[in-house]
């Protein structure tokens, strides 16, 4: 969206009582809604002149029916004025800055002329956001300063907040009368000295301030006379704004606003009756205050210092402010975010047996959602069959050529089917193969919404292949996802061409696979392609069959089949690849035959998938992903692959070695501390002596952990499933194994050893000012055996920091990304390869400076490799 025109300012104004009366379709007199017959009472709160919400009735103001009548405002004449609570601060400022006797502005003459000149020159523009009081910040500061030295307020240029700080002038310059202190008690009470000002007094006072002086105060008297902030005629919104709902029992349930308005009218009537009967002033003032309460809560039922008005059930009423404010308010709930039709949402669960471009849709959802089908001479028989169908693939609605919509029911279906003509549209239930969009929030990148094909299934959850899990960042611990059904051919084609899962295998961000097998699939691939892996003929047949391969190759190991041979059946015949694996061996593929090496995460997830994508395209990579993952899982299942405590148990000898490592580290630290205390420690360049010590200690302790890592790796060895997974990149790391079976290691906060706590020591279990390893968070125990209480506490300190950091990082980077996206959202790569925004303004002459699409760039390796090179000065 290009910004063609800018809003220079918005002017808010107050309604005068005359304006309210002019706007009003009717003066409301009866504090009630419907009579016994359920008919709207004349002059009541749902009077038919305020609009109609019942079908069949006509509006008495405009003659329109339910939908055509927009609704009309009414008004209530309050017998006694009431302060508008949302404006009480403005009123307070005005009362403070005008004389309580002559109602002229309280300013020294000299300063007034300054302000007057400013108004004339247009430097102080009356009327704007803050109810007329506007200014630049600089002006406000200047005004405040000068006010201070002269002890007088200049309000015209002081924003409301600061105006209150300005000292009060003791004597009016105009009438020479002393001023009592005006005070304000939230939400709407004003006092002059000790005497309370009645709203009518306030109104008279404000009405007396001359227009010119209001201008000096920053008001625009044409649009906002301050006395209009005291309500004498209360505007009543149309019934369309506060519709009543009819319950199943037939009872009517009124909107909260209507309830509130009834309250206001009741009290208003009682007040009137009491005044007319000549009741004592005390009773009248009590009722008046009650009226004020009801009006206040009508505007905002969360006003500070007053109890919220409640429903009979005890639920606080939702009045005007509550309708708009906050997350559930009109703006954030209904305007910024809307609900859409043709969408479904439910919990997701995994299904490795469906293709990556499919989504398992529960029957319940498929029966509810529809797709419009154009009836033609060629499909009319099929359409009739859908209409007449008894069960699942059914047509639910028919849109006839005359534009009328007919629901297909048991009674009507025969007739509808008989009268079906080409050119109509039938809406049939969702079927296998239909195009849908699948989405998981937060939708942070374009691959958070992809096109899937429907696969209708029993059960109540959406099913998705585990391989599409990474782009959605989905897991199955209760995650829910949304599904949208495109309704037009154009939308479907666009989704199929641009958003299909198989087309998104390579991420547009870094050019590597993002739809990729993980965890057990990688373990499976490694297991399948290990030297030792062999299968019998029967197993080989099963493995190939599960991968949809019907051709059994010649056995390569006598009677048996190597895992590599079977895996090779999945590879394209023209695939050649020679890479070094994470395990240090060479993986070689020649003409689609895996000759040597075992697959690990990088080779499988990236190299193979990317290569197949670039060589043979999306469908090839889809079938490869589908069948290879199934084969890998089946293969590893035949063998069995699991982890238990024994995988993290080291031998006695290693335990001893570990103890030696820990005590050696401790000793070294103690030695350093000694050196530090004797001042024999050599200072590192740019460091203080203390910093040198810390640095050296950290080095020793991390060396200790590295040493234990080697012991662990040696002890547990490559036939340990936990270590295998860590090494091939399937799950976990060597560090996890170290921490579980040998030593948790040094804990750190802000990259330093733990120091905070009881001043001279982190915990009082240690000597004061101790610098030793144990006193500052060195955890030599492992998780399997358990931590000492002190170690546990230190570990929690370190753990807390990383927890806080992730929380802060996600929040901050999320907002940062949102701002970037908003700034860049309408930039498009044009056909001349330039990048422009929607106004046609050039941003880049070639996309990215090199016109490279990261998704395709992998195809030509050289380009990719060059990207990594560092920028160096050339001479």
């Amino acid at each position: 969206m290009a910004i063609e025109k800018m809003i220079s300012h918005i002017k808010f104004s107050l309604f005068s009582p005359e304006m309210v009366r002019k706007l009003s379709a009717e003066k409301l007199l009866v504090p009630d809604t419907y009579n016994e017959d359920g008919y709207p009472i004349d002059g009541g709160l749902v009077d038919q002149r305020l609009g109609v919400i019942d079908p069949g009735l006509r509006c008495k103001t405009c003659g329109g029916r339910m939908r055509s009548c927009p609704g009309h405002f009414g008004h209530i004449e309050l017998v006694r004025p009431v302060i508008h609570p949302e404006f009480s601060r403005v009123i307070y400022v005005l009362l403070k800055s005008t004389c309580q006797h002559c109602h002229h502005i309280l300013v020294k003459k000299r300063q007034r002329s300054v302000v007057k000149k400013k108004v004339k020159k247009g430097e102080v523009v009356p009327g704007a956001a803050d109810l007329g009081i506007i200014t630049s910040k600089e002006e406000a500061v200047k005004a405040l300063e000068s006010a201070d030295e002269a002890e007088a307020p200049i309000l015209g240029s002081v924003p409301l907040k600061d105006a209150e700080k300005v000292k009060k002038v003791a004597i009016c310059a105009k009438c020479d009368k002393p001023q009592a202190i005006v005070s304000f008690v939230k939400p709407s009470a004003f006092y002059l000295g000790k005497k309370q000002l009645l709203p009518s007094d306030v109104r008279d006072w404000l009405a007396d301030i001359p227009n010119e002086e209001l201008q000096e105060l920053g008001f625009d008297p044409v649009y906002a006379r301050p006395e209009w902030a005291i309500i004498t005629a209360l505007l009543v919104p149309p019934v369309t704004v506060r519709p009543s709902i009819t319950l199943e029992t037939g009872d009517r349930s009124e909107d909260d606003l209507t309830h509130k308005l009834v309250d206001i009218m009741r009290i208003n009537q009682r007040l009137e009756a009491n005044i007319n009967a000549g009741a004592p002033q005390l009773i009248i003032e009590d009722l008046w205050e009650l009226l004020q309460y009801h009006v206040t809560t009508y505007f905002n039922n969360e006003t500070a210092n007053i109890p919220p008005a409640r429903h009979r059930s005890g639920r606080p009423l939702k009045t005007l402010s509550q309708r708009l404010k906050g997350k559930e308010g009109r703006f954030r709930y209904n305007l910024s975010g809307k609900r859409v039709n043709f969408s479904a949402r439910t919990v997701i669960s995994p299904d490795p047996n469906i293709s990556i471009n499919e989504v398992g849709v529960p029957m319940m959802v498929a029966e509810e959602m529809t797709i419009p089908i154009n009836v033609t001479d060629w499909n009319i028989e099929a359409c009739k069959k859908l209409i007449l169908s008894e069960d699942y693939p059914k047509a639910l609605y028919v849109l006839r050529t005359d534009g009328k919509r007919a629901k297909v029911t048991e009674k009507t279906k025969q007739e509808i089917s008989d009268n079906l003509t080409s050119g109509s549209i039938i809406e049939r239930q969702l079927c296998d193969g239909d195009t849908v969009l699948f989405n998981r929030q937060p939708s942070l990148h374009r691959i958070s919404i992809m096109r899937h094909k429907v696969r209708v299934m029993p059960g109540k959850s959406f099913r998705l292949n585990l391989v599409v899990t990474p782009p959605y960042n989905a897991d199955f611990d209760g995650d829910e996802m949304n599904l949208h059904v495109p309704q037009t051919d154009e939308a479907r084609v666009e989704a199929e061409l641009l958003m299909s899962v198989e087309g998104q295998v390579i991420s547009p961000r870094h050019g590597h696979a993002i739809i990729k097998p993980q965890e057990d699939f990688v373990s499976g691939a490694y297991f399948m392609t290990r030297d030792a892996t062999e299968f019998t003929r029967e197993q080989a047949c099963q493995l190939l069959a599960i991968a949809n391969i019907t051709n059994l190759p010649e056995p390569d190991r006598g009677q048996k089949y190597s895992g590599r041979l079977l895996f090779s059946e999945l590879l394209p015949k023209d695939l050649n690849l020679k890479i070094k694996s994470k395990l240090g061996e060479v993986i070689e593929i020649k003409n689609g035959l895996l000759l040597k090496g075992s697959l690990e995460a990088r080779a499988y997830e990236n190299e193979l998938i990317e290569k197949i994508f670039h060589m043979h395209g999306d469908q090839a990579v889809r079938t490869f992903l589908d069948s290879s993952t199934r084969m890998c899982i089946f293969g590893v299942t035949l063998h069995g692959f699991s982890v238990d405590v024994s995988n993290y148990t080291i031998g006695e000898e290693s335990v001893k070695k570990m103890e030696a490592v820990a005590s050696k580290a401790r000793k070294e630290v103690d030695g350093l501390v000694m050196q530090f205390k004797n001042k024999t420690l050599e200072r590192l360049p740019g460091r203080s002596l203390r910093e040198t010590l810390e640095e050296k200690i950290m080095a020793i302790l991390s060396r200790a952990r590295d040493a234990s890592g080697q012991i662990i790796e040696k002890d547990l060895g490559m036939d340990n499933n936990a270590i295998i997974m860590a090494k091939i990149g399937a799950r976990g790391s060597i560090l996890n194994a170290i921490q579980m079976s040998a030593m948790v290691g040094q804990q750190a906060v802000r990259g330093k050893r733990l120091t905070r706590g009881y001043g001279s020591r982190p915990l009082l279990h240690f000597k004061k000012k101790s610098l030793g390893a144990d006193a500052h968070g060195f955890v030599s125990s492992c998780f399997k055996i358990g931590l000492t209480p002190q170690e546990f506490f230190f570990h929690s300190m370190g753990g807390r920091e990383s927890l806080v950091n992730t929380a802060i990082r996600t929040a901050r980077s999320g907002y940062m990304q949102r701002r970037l996206i908003n700034a860049l959202q309408d930039m498009v790569v044009q056909s001349d390869r330039s990048v422009r925004d929607s106004r046609g303004v050039l941003i880049q002459y070639t996309f990215g400076g090199d016109g490279a699409d990261p998704k395709e760039v992998g195809a030509s390796r050289q380009a990719l490799e060059k990207v990594g090179e560092e920028l160096e000065p050339d001479d």
């Binding site: 001349d832 000065p873 050339d874």
Partner: protein, 79 residues
């Protein structure tokens, strides 16, 4: 201080050239855009002062990136 040193000599500052009027015309035709649609550069920019470009001139910038060399055009505006 650094006043004597020419900015243009720094390796991070790519080559800036003033485009002759006819050349600039060609660029505008190629991109089918008026001068106002082109990216801007202030006349107060050190490199603009250095090469002596005037307000309204189009500057051609030749950048060497990690992947390849590319050209960029900017129009001088008064600050």
């Amino acid at each position: 201080m650094l006043g004597e040193k020419k900015h243009i000599d720094h390796f991070l500052v790519p080559l800036h050239e003033i485009l002759p009027k006819e050349e600039a015309e060609k660029v505008m035709v190629f991109y089918k855009s008026p001068l106002t649609a082109f990216p801007k550069i202030n006349d107060s920019d050190p490199i603009v002062k250095q090469i002596g470009a005037q307000v309204g001139d189009m500057i051609k910038i030749t950048r060497k990136d990690a992947t390849c060399e590319n050209v960029y055009y900017r129009v001088v505006y008064e600050k």
